[in-house]
């Protein structure tokens, strides 16, 4: 569904990505793991059009989207939930959700999407009038995902959904991510520093290190890889 090939991205003289390639099949949850500065967020920002690659291409549903502006990429059904959530802090929860459906004109469809989002995150319905900036970190993450779902995406990219969130909410949010994938057939690219969690919910994984893919394979297999365990999973025996 999404093919990234030979992506090179730099910030000034610093290379952030030096030839990243991967493929994500329709309907799957695939994860990108790697340490700080490995290039995970840069990869997502380049796919969604916030950054321009120096070289390489991004193909989505058979179309080359490398040069498209960000808003045109969203319009094609590829939605990016950014790191740090980026909810519109001064807008209400309601307005944030409305912004998620910015490209939809059909009121009925928007109403259906709202009900769907409330079904997944009932908390948002309780907080509808509240200003988004006053929500807890976990609630903001729910809102960010809910906002993305309002636009009826076919492909969702989630950047560090567990970052800065109370542990018991992390479990809830990951359950919901899996649920959305199962029930809606939504393809998901998940970037996560918590590699254990990411490998648990995903089918396949790519490991990034200093802007390159250094390892890839089915998540179940990578979970048992001794080298990976030592680097990213805190070592310990295979559980």
């Amino acid at each position: 569904m999404l093919t990234v090939s030979d992506l090179h991205v730099s910030y000034g003289a610093i290379n952030a990505l030096s030839g990243v390639s991967f493929t994500i099949p329709q309907g799957a949850i695939v994860t990108l793991i790697g340490g700080n500065g490995a290039g995970k967020t840069t990869t997502l920002r380049t796919i969604s059009g916030l950054l321009r690659p120096r070289r390489g291409s991004v193909t989505f549903r058979g179309e080359d989207i490398t040069a498209l502006p960000a808003h045109a990429i969203v319009a094609r059904g590829l939605c990016h939930v950014p790191e740090g959530r980026m909810v519109f802090a001064n807008l209400s929860v309601d307005e944030n959700l409305a912004m998620g459906a910015y490209l939809l004109r059909d009121r009925e469809r928007i109403a259906r999407n709202r009900e769907f989002v409330f079904g997944i995150f009932p908390r948002l319905k309780e907080r509808l009038r509240q200003t988004a900036g006053t929500l807890s970190g976990g609630e903001q993450q729910m809102l960010a995902i809910g906002r993305a779902l309002m636009g009826d995406p076919a492909f969702l990219m989630l950047d560090e959904p567990s970052l800065g969130i109370a542990p018991r909410l992390i479990a809830t949010i990951f359950e919901k991510i899996v649920e959305i994938n199962r029930t809606q057939g939504l393809t998901i690219l998940l970037v996560e520093q918590n590699a254990n969690l990411a490998l648990e919910v995903s089918a396949g994984a790519y490991v990034l290190e200093t802007g390159r893919v250094v390892m890839q394979g089915p998540s179940a297999q990578l979970r048992d890889d001794p080298q990976l365990r030592a680097t990213y999973l805190g070592g310990g025996p295979v559980g």
Partner: protein
Amino acid sequence: MTEFLQQLLNGLSLGAIYALIALGYTMVYGVLRFINFAHSDVFMIGAFAGYYLGQRVPAGTLAGGLAVMAGAMVICAVLGMAIERLAYRPLRGAPTLNVLITAIGVSLFLQYTGQLIFGATPRTFPQLFPAARLSIGPLSVSSNQLLVIAVALVLMIALQLIVFRTRIGTAMRAVSLNPNAARLVGVNNDVVISFTFGLGSALAAAGGILYAMNYPSIDPLMGVMPGLKAFVAAILGGIGNIPGAALGGLLLGTVETFVGGSAFSTYKDAIAFAILILILLLRPAGLLGRFVAEKV
């Protein structure tokens, strides 16, 4: 007491004009984080558009006056969008200082192109609307003054509805809060920015005509002083804050008028800048502005 009310009315009608101009500064600051110094010259062009259009409609009629105002607003909206497209958009992503200097350049360009085309000699602005002097109790009010307040009020309510009730208005607020997040939900930020310039410039045009009606002499440099004061008004209310700009404009106009009517009348023009210094020292975020603590 009568004099107080009289001055209050004068102040509010001047303040309403400052408010209309200040809204343009504050909206553009909201979406692009820079001060569009050319805004005061769009205000001037608005007055000149009113002057020329005014020759094509019967003078002193309500319908004619409103038509002229609408025409000038459209002309300035197009001008504002053209300025953004040609001068500021190529600098997207450049340091704010570069954009700021460009804005000063555009401002000078408009002023001196104005002198070339319109000439530097001041012209008398025509009486577009029916004129009358009304007596409300002991107060003597010109119909122009009431018109200024009424038109400004209607425009500000319309703006409030656009910004808080429409899809493009919500997008404006979203772009202002987080441009990248707005792009990620599918907002074409360039369209929103262009719309913001159009909206602000239309308000400046209305302000230019209302100003010219009350101080009926126009020239290509007429925008400088009211523009600076409206800028102060926007800072006073809290730059980027729409109700703040309206409040700041009304307050500044009122204070200035009262100072002008007092023993310190020579300081009438200085008072705006005294207020600017005070607000920057005491409450730099402005009356309605807030420092937003970033929550990571």
